[in-house]
Symmetry: C2
Subunit: 185 residues, 2 copies
């Protein structure tokens, strides 16, 4: 036996597991919907043990939140002035929520949050907080305005998806941009 | 035995059953959250057989939609001009979604709709359509604008509830009114 062979790592590296689980999560949500996307099903799809998931994410809600943070990533605020920056962020949000499984996972975890205070805390502190800070900087307005901006943009996009099953079309995204940037100018 | 006693009615009148079931639905949703408010639990709370519910509402989604239509009722558009009418409807929507169980039931059925085309059809045709028509008349603008108005108002109010667990405070409702009425003037 060649002694120079490096020892086989025990288990997979953390990032590899996260990738597997996050991909399996969005695929499962897209296929069977949020309510039926149980940790059992997600684990089966990822090809790993359910306990591996529960070791990292104690609840389905925390898994979905981390999966969304991974899928959505940081918001861009690009452009020469505040209006352009806000417009680029709104277009980006519309695109992201339209990605397979993302809008569904978002609407689902969000609706669970209405009756789950712990999950709400995770949602607002882990998922929303970084965007709130970025919006506040881009708007150059107090926290209250930044939170209202997020409610309006994300709430409107999610409501449209819930009613039509499809992301908002570009023409309506532009109307939303016009409406929001006229107010937060 | 007195022969003049009227025959005992078989079963309860339809309206009586609906009332029982709708009240039990909102109470159950408020207590255990939308996801855990099963038809089993709702039937137990209403003190009726599960089959009685399924005879009228084939799915939990259709039950929740009828319950919401009953709880929310027609939208008022009161005031001297379009701005006042829209403002009164937005204030009313904020109050209604803040009633116990209503925001939670709404957010839940809505999130199920993202991955359930049949439920989406029920949601948009039975729940949203009457409001869409009323908004369209009040706005005196095409269908597209009326749908955007509903997405913005309802989406924003639900997003706030999902993040905070509480209805939007009056100060923010007034900001939302200002933003929406400036656009749809």
């Amino acid at each position: 036996m060649p002694s120079e062979a490096p020892p086989r790592p025990r288990g997979r590296p953390r990032a590899g597991i996260n990738r597997l689980v996050f991909d399996a999560t969005l695929d499962t949500v897209e296929e069977v919907g949020y309510a039926h996307a149980t940790v059992d099903r997600i684990a089966a799809r990822a090809g790993i043990a359910k306990t591996t998931i529960y070791r990292r994410w104690p609840t389905k809600g925390t898994l979905i939140v981390d999966c969304l943070i991974d899928a959505i990533g940081p918001a861009p605020f690009e452009g020469a002035d505040r209006r352009e920056k806000l417009a680029s962020a709104i277009r980006w949000a519309a695109d992201k929520l339209g990605e397979p499984g993302v809008g569904d996972a978002f609407a689902g975890v969000f609706s669970d949050g209405v009756s789950d205070p712990e999950l709400r805390l995770v949602l607002s502190s882990r998922l929303q907080e970084p965007y709130r800070l970025a919006v506040q900087t881009a708007l150059d307005q107090p926290e209250r305005e930044a939170l209202l901006f997020i409610d309006i943009v994300v709430g409107t996009l999610l409501h449209r998806m819930g009613m039509t099953g499809r992301p908002m079309v570009e023409e309506d995204v532009e109307a939303l941009i016009e409406l929001v940037t006229s107010y937060f100018h």
